[in-house]
Amino acid sequence: MLDPQQRSGHYGAEISLQSRPMTTQEITPAIAAGQWEEALAIVALHRDKSAYAELFRYFAPRLRAFGIKMFGNEQQAMEMVQDTMLNVWQKAALFDASRGCASTWIFTIARNVRFDMLRKKQSRKDDISADDLWADGDYPEQEDNQSQQWDVHLVAEKVAPHFHALPPAQRLVMEKVYLDELSHQEVSEQLGIPLGTVKSRIRLALDRLREAIDGPRS
């Protein structure tokens, strides 16, 4: 499993970093299912520097782009990248694939790092810290039966007018599931997104529709 040849076979050639042309052109990511989750597990188990380097080369520039969006400047964005990626290196053992994707875990670390950076700047970190606000995914798993109940209601025609108001990513998934009648797995394969993300988007879209139909209080 640790043989790099075998690993790159597992990940698929298109994402092997060694074989990437060294240009600065923008690349559209193609992620093999389970790729980064496996890399994190290898880092956690064996302190494997090459597996970490692959994670780093993939996520660090994306975190930088995210940071620039959030902070509006490069310097703080890079500080956030470094702190986040250091956490990924040191705390990989805390990653739990049963709770979500590697990218979700890395996103939550970056969000928390950013929140605490901003608080520290205002010398107010001690009042409310990221630790208080986000429970790190340790809420118990919920029964996933609510969405099922709502599937029936969805057929109702009154939902249709609200469809266009869904965010594009959620609408696309909803169309594939409810209009094209594809399975969640088929949608995942067709769109190249994780199965968990398909389910997430459906739940979010259902809630949005419910919000649209229930209407305001006043």
Binding site: R20, M22, T23, T24, Q25, E26, I27, T28, P29, I31, K49, Y52, A53, F56, R57, Y58, A60, P61, R62, A65, F66, M78, V81, Q82, L86, Q90, K91, L94, G100, C101, S103, T104, I106, F107, T108, A110, R111, F115, D127, I128, S129, D131, D132, L133, W134, A135, Y139, Q142, Q146, I193, P194, T197, K199, S200, L204, E211, D214, P216, R217, S218
Partner: protein, 235 residues
């Protein structure tokens, strides 16, 4: 928890919470709502998964060049955190009692359980001020958003009031009613300046709430709806 939470933050508010772009005091009240509400916990996790996917699918230049190599080397030279330290940290994080926090709150003769997200800030409360069955204690907030605890005794009515900003209330224990509804632990109530209301405690137990008052706002039509459509998940 026997009570089913009925009043929830809107998805838009949950999204800003999950992103971490919401003001810290508002983040805190949403976090405390999540401590009570399995449904919003699931939505929050779904939103996080979506944001994580956005991060992974984002286009970005390759991480080549000396700046990235330097950062990589620096990180790899850091000592890994030993596994037992990590599991201790994790245990602390998910413990019922947060370090530096209080898990119980005493108001007069009443004892309340403090949800996890509020344990540290409740430890920093100012002293209680009591006036005719209503007690309040300020918590550290900001200039824009005032945070406080509010305890309403049985058969007590909060005088009719309006506010120039938003008033966001989370019921932490007990029950209360106003002109618009009946609220219990976990319910999140958002009032805009055009709502005048008189919350009352008509139950046998005192009612403890967390309240955020925002600075005066310019209001747009439909803002309340955006923040709190008062969806009912269970009919």
């Amino acid at each position: 928890m026997a009570h089913v939470v009925k009043y929830h933050p809107s998805i838009s508010l949950l999204e800003q919470y999950s992103e971490g772009t919401l003001a810290p005091e508002l983040c805190l009240i949403v976090a405390a709502h999540l401590d009570f509400c399995p449904h919003c916990q699931t939505l929050h996790r779904d939103i996080e998964a979506d944001l994580g996917c956005d991060l992974a699918m984002q286009k970005a230049p390759l991480a080549d060049g000396s700046q990235w190599e330097q950062m990589l080397d620096q990180i790899l030279s850091a000592e890994p955190v030993p596994r037992d330290v990590l599991s201790k940290q994790q245990a602390l994080h998910s413990a019922d009692n947060k370090p530096g926090g209080v898990s119980e709150l005493l108001v007069g003769a009443h004892r309340f359980t403090v949800p996890r997200s509020l344990q540290r800030i409740v430890a920093k409360r100012n002293k209680w001020l009591t006036l005719g069955g209503i007690s309040t204690a300020k918590l550290p907030g900001s200039e824009e958003n005032h945070l406080s605890l509010l305890c309403i005794e049985t058969d007590t009515e909060v005088p009719l009031h309006t506010h120039k900003g938003l008033e966001i209330t989370l019921v932490l224990a007990g029950e209360m009613v106003d002109e618009m509804g009946h609220y219990a632990a976990g319910d999140l109530i958002i009032n805009t300046p055009d709502h005048t209301h008189t919350p009352k405690n008509i139950a046998a137990e005192p009612c403890l709430c967390l309240s955020v008052l925002t600075a005066p706002l310019e209001f747009k039509q439909g803002l309340t709806r955006l923040l709190n459509p008062l969806q009912r998940f269970f009919y």
